[in-house]
C-alpha cells in the first residue's frame, strides 16, 4: 500500500489548489505593494479567500477522513469564504470602473449576499454529513437547494468574470497585458465549471475532473506573474 492511497483525493487536490492560490495571492500582494493599484489588492484578497476556502474544505479531511462532522463543518466555513471571495472579486471589477459592473455593482452585491446567506442558512439548519466515495472523493451531500445555489453561483459568477476580462483584454495595449486578461478570463470559465462539478456532483469521476480543473486554474493564475511587458 503506497502513501498516496492513504491520502483522500478530494482533500489532497483541494489542499494543492489552496496552496497554489495562496502563492497567487502573495504574488498579487507584492505587485500591489509596488503599484498601489486597488484592483490588484482586491485580486490578492480574492485569491487569499479562495485559498482559505480550499483549506477549510481540505484540512479536516486530511486530518481524519472519517470525521464527517468536522468535514461538514469545514464545508460550511468554506461556503462562507466562497461568498466572501465572490464579493471581493466583484470589487476587482468595480475598481476597474468598467461600464455594466460599476453601474450595477449594488444589485450584483445584493444578489451574491442574498444567495450566500440563503445557502449558509440552509446548510446550517439542515446539516447533513458528507459522503466519502471512491479514491477518497467527498460528496458534500447538502440540501439540494443549497447545493444548486452554490454550484450555479460558482458557474454564473465564473462566466461573468470571464466575460468581463475577455472584454478588458480587448481594450488593453500590449501582448503581455492581453495575455494576462486572457488568463483571468480562462480562470473564470475553468473555476466556474470546476465549482459546478465539485459542489453538485455525486459521481467520483466528475468530482475528480472538477478538482483537477481547480488545480489547473490555480496553476494558470500563477502565470499572471511570469509575463512582463518589455
Amino acid at each position: 500500500m503506497n502513501l498516496l492511497s492513504l491520502i483522500p483525493l478530494t482533500p489532497l487536490l483541494y489542499f494543492t489548489g489552496g496552496v497554489l492560490c495562496g502563492l497567487v495571492a502573495l504574488s498579487a500582494y507584492i505587485s500591489y505593494q509596488k503599484s498601489h493599484n486597488r484592483a490588484i489588492f482586491y485580486l490578492s484578497l480574492t485569491f487569499l479567500l479562495l485559498c482559505l476556502h480550499s483549506l477549510a474544505l481540505s484540512i479536516p479531511g486530511l486530518m481524519n477522513i472519517h470525521d464527517l462532522r468536522m468535514i461538514g463543518g469545514g464545508y460550511i466555513v468554506g461556503t462562507f469564504f466562497l461568498y466572501a471571495l465572490l464579493l471581493t472579486a466583484l470589487k476587482v471589477q468595480t475598481s476597474l470602473n468598467r461600464g455594466f459592473v460599476e453601474k450595477h455593482s449594488f444589485v450584483i452585491n445584493t444578489i451574491v449576499i442574498g444567495v450566500g446567506v440563503t445557502a449558509l442558512w440552509l446548510e446550517i439548519t439542515d446539516f447533513r454529513f458528507p459522503v466519502v466515495g471512491a479514491w477518497g472523493t467527498i460528496f458534500w451531500n447538502t440540501t439540494p437547494i443549497a447545493t444548486w445555489l452554490i454550484g450555479l453561483t460558482a458557474l454564473f459568477y465564473g462566466l461573468f468574470w470571464a466575460d468581463f476580462f475577455q472584454q478588458t483584454g480587448r481594450i488593453v495595449r500590449g501582448f503581455a497585458a492581453k495575455l494576462k486578461m486572457l488568463i483571468l478570463s480562462i480562470d473564470g470559465v475553468v473555476l466556474g465549471v470546476a465549482g459546478l462539478l465539485v459542489f453538485t456532483s455525486h459521481n467520483a469521476v466528475l468530482t475528480v475532473i472538477g478538482h483537477s480543473l481547480f488545480v489547473f486554474a490555480s496553476l494558470l493564475s500563477l502565470l499572471l506573474f511570469v509575463f512582463r511587458e518589455r
Partner: protein, 552 residues
C-alpha cells in the same frame, strides 16, 4: 624536387602575394615599406631555394650572395617601416634617414667586389652543400642584422608607449609579436646555427615567416591594419592559386605537372576576372554607401533648416500679433462710435479693416499653431467634453456667418443620452468650428447637416459634417489634410484660407488618438467630413485596465 625547395618556393609565392595584397590598400609609406619587407622575404626564399636546388657550385655561390643581400634588406626596410608607423604620425623623411642605407650599400659593394666575402668556400656534401663561412665578415653581417632589428623594436616600442589610440596599440602588438617570433626563429636557423657550423637547417628560416604573415594577415582582417580592403573572393582566389602551385611543384610525374600547370593557368585567368568583377561590385557598393551618407547628411541639414524656418515663422507671427490686436481694437472702437460719429463711407472702410485684421489674426494663429506642432510644443489638456453640446455651441457661435451665407444647418444624433469624449475642449472646438466654417463657405445657400453617432461596441463617437457644396475632386481627397493643399477653384470661393486649417485639424485629432477623414462623391456633389474620437468612458476604462495589467 626536394621538399625544402618546394617549401621555400611556396613561402616565396605566399610572401609575394602578401606583398601585392598590402599594396591594395592605401599607398602610403608604411604600406609600401612593409610590402617591400615581405617582397624581400620572397626574394630571400627564392634565392635560398635556388641555392639548395643548384648543382653548379658557381651558380650556388651567386644565389647565396643574393639571398644574403635580400636577407640584409629585410631588417633595414623593417626599420624604416618602424620609423613611419603608424601612418597617421607626422614623421617625415629626413636626410639622416638616408644614412641608414649606407651599411646596406657597402654590403652590396663588398659582395660585388668579392664574391667570397660571406661564403669563403662551397663544396658538395652528398645531397647537401658544405659551406665554409668567412667568419670575420660574417660577424659584421650578423651585427648589422642585430643592429637594425634592435633599432626597429626600439622604435615600435616607443610608438606603442606614445600611442593613445587603442586600435593602433592592438595593431602594434600584432606587428611586434608576429615579426619578433619570425625574426628570432629565422635568425637562429639562418644566422647563428650557420655561424656555429650547422648549415643544413638554413632552409627553415623563411618557413618561420609564415608566423609573421598570419599574424599581420589576421590584424589586417580584424583590426584594419594597413587599411587594406580585404575582399574574401581575392583571398579565396589567392589561396586556390597557392594550393595548385604547390601541387604542381610537388607533382611526381610530368603528366601530373602538366595537368596541374594547366589547371593553375585556368584558375589564374578565371580568378583575375572574378576578382576584378568583385572589386568593381565592391566599389559600386561603396559609392552607393557614400551617396547614402551624403543624403543622410543633407537630410539632417534640411531638418535643421526646417527647424530654423519654423522658429522664424514663430517669431514673425508673434511680432505680428501685437500690432494686429491694436488694429482690431481701434477699428472696432471706431465702428462702434467710441471716437464720435464717423461718416458712413469711412465707417464701411474701417469695418473692412476690422474684418481683414480678424482674418489676418486667424492666419497668424494658424502659423503659430503649425509651428507649435512641428516643434512638439503643442500642449493638450484633456477633459470630459460633451461632443454634441460642443457642436451645438459652435454652430451658435458661427450663426452670423451661417446666416450671411444663407446656409440651412441641422444637427442630429443617433439617440444616445451622452456623447462624452476625452478631449482638449478649446482645440476640439477650433477643429469643429473650422470644419463647419469650411462647409458653410463651400456650400453657399446650401444645406449643412451635422450628425453625431455613438458606436457602443467600439466605444467610438463620430461627428460628421455633410454639405451639398462644391465637393472634393478625387485627386485631392488623399492630400486634403496636407499643408497648403487646396483644390482648383477653391481660392475663388475661400480667398482668405491659409491652407493650414485641415492640416491643423488632422494634427489635433491625431493627438486625441482619433481619426479625421473626408468623403465626396465627386466635384459638385457635396462632401462629408468625419471626426472620430474615443468615448470618454472607454478611454478611462482602457487607461485603468492598462495600469492594472501592467502592474500585475
Amino acid at each position: 624536387m626536394p621538399y625544402e625547395v618546394v617549401s621555400l618556393f611556396a613561402i616565396a609565392v605566399l610572401n609575394a602575394l602578401f606583398s601585392y595584397f598590402l599594396l591594395e590598400g592605401e599607398k602610403n609609406k608604411t604600406n609600401i615599406l612593409f610590402s617591400l619587407v615581405t617582397l624581400s622575404v620572397a626574394l630571400w626564399s627564392v634565392n635560398l631555394a635556388l641555392f639548395i636546388a643548384s648543382s653548379d657550385l658557381a651558380r650556388g655561390l651567386f644565389y647565396a650572395n643574393n639571398y644574403y643581400l635580400a636577407a640584409a634588406a629585410i631588417p633595414l626596410l623593417f626599420f624604416y617601416f618602424s620609423l613611419f608607423f603608424p601612418p597617421e604620425t607626422t614623421k617625415r623623411w629626413k636626410w639622416k634617414h638616408t644614412l641608414y642605407l649606407l651599411p646596406f650599400l657597402l654590403l652590396i659593394l663588398a659582395t660585388l667586389a668579392n664574391r667570397n666575402i660571406i661564403l669563403a668556400e662551397i663544396s658538395l656534401d652528398g645531397r647537401h652543400k658544405a659551406v665554409v663561412l668567412n667568419q670575420g665578415f660574417y660577424l659584421v653581417y650578423a651585427l648589422y642584422f642585430l643592429f637594425f632589428v634592435t633599432l626597429s623594436y626600439y622604435q615600435l616600442g616607443k610608438s606603442y608607449l606614445e600611442s593613445k589610440n587603442i586600435l593602433e596599440k592592438i595593431q602594434l602588438r600584432f606587428i611586434v609579436w608576429g615579426t619578433l617570433i619570425s625574426y628570432l626563429l629565422g635568425m637562429t636557423f639562418n644566422l647563428f646555427l650557420p655561424f656555429l657550423g650547422n648549415y643544413r637547417q638554413i632552409w627553415l628560416g623563411p618557413v618561420f615567416t609564415l608566423i609573421m604573415v598570419f599574424s599581420i594577415g589576421y590584424a589586417v582582417f580584424r583590426h584594419h591594419l594597413f587599411n587594406v580592403k580585404v575582399i574574401t573572393a581575392e583571398v579565396l582566389t589567392f589561396s586556390i592559386w597557392f594550393f595548385i602551385l604547390i601541387r604542381t611543384l610537388i607533382s611526381d610525374t610530368l603528366q601530373d605537372q602538366i595537368v596541374n600547370g594547366v589547371l593553375l593557368l585556368a584558375t589564374t585567368i578565371s580568378g583575375i576576372f572574378l576578382v576584378r568583377s568583385v572589386i568593381k561590385e565592391v566599389e559600386t557598393r561603396e559609392k552607393i554607401e557614400r551617396l547614402a551618407e551624403d543624403l543622410s547628411k543633407a537630410n539632417a541639414r534640411l531638418k535643421v533648416l526646417d527647424q530654423q524656418k519654423s522658429e522664424f515663422v514663430s517669431i514673425a507671427s508673434h511680432q505680428l500679433r501685437g500690432p494686429l490686436t491694436a488694429i482690431k481694437g481701434y477699428a472696432s472702437m471706431v465702428v462702434e462710435g467710441s471716437f464720435g460719429p464717423v461718416d458712413v463711407k469711412a465707417k464701411e472702410a474701417v469695418r473692412r479693416i476690422f474684418e481683414s485684421s480678424l482674418h489676418l489674426a486667424k492666419v497668424v494663429e494658424d502659423f503659430l499653431n503649425v509651428t507649435k506642432i512641428e516643434q512638439g510644443g503643442m500642449k493638450f489638456e484633456f477633459t470630459k467634453v460633451d461632443l454634441k453640446k460642443l457642436a451645438v455651441d459652435t454652430v451658435a457661435e458661427l450663426k452670423p456667418n451661417i446666416e450671411r451665407a444663407g446656409v440651412a444647418i441641422a444637427i442630429g444624433d443617433n439617440g444616445e443620452k451622452e456623447y462624452y469624449v476625452l478631449a482638449d475642449f478649446e482645440k476640439l472646438r477650433q477643429v469643429i468650428a473650422n470644419l463647419i466654417d469650411n462647409s458653410v463657405k463651400y456650400a453657399p445657400k446650401g444645406d449643412v447637416k451635422i450628425f453625431i453617432d455613438k458606436q457602443k461596441e467600439s466605444g467610438k463617437i463620430t461627428l460628421s459634417i455633410t454639405d451639398n457644396g462644391m465637393g472634393i475632386p478625387k485627386e485631392l481627397e488623399n492630400r486634403l489634410f496636407e499643408k497648403f493643399s487646396r483644390g482648383e477653384g477653391v481660392s475663388k470661393i475661400n480667398t482668405g484660407g491659409s491652407g493650414l486649417g485641415l492640416y491643423l485639424a488632422k494634427e489635433v485629432i491625431e493627438a486625441h488618438q482619433g481619426k479625421i477623414w473626408a468623403h465626396s462623391a465627386g466635384e459638385g456633389k457635396g462632401s462629408t467630413f468625419f471626426v472620430e474620437l474615443n468615448e470618454y468612458e472607454q478611454v478611462k476604462e482602457a487607461e485603468q485596465a492598462d495600469r492594472f495589467a501592467k502592474a500585475l
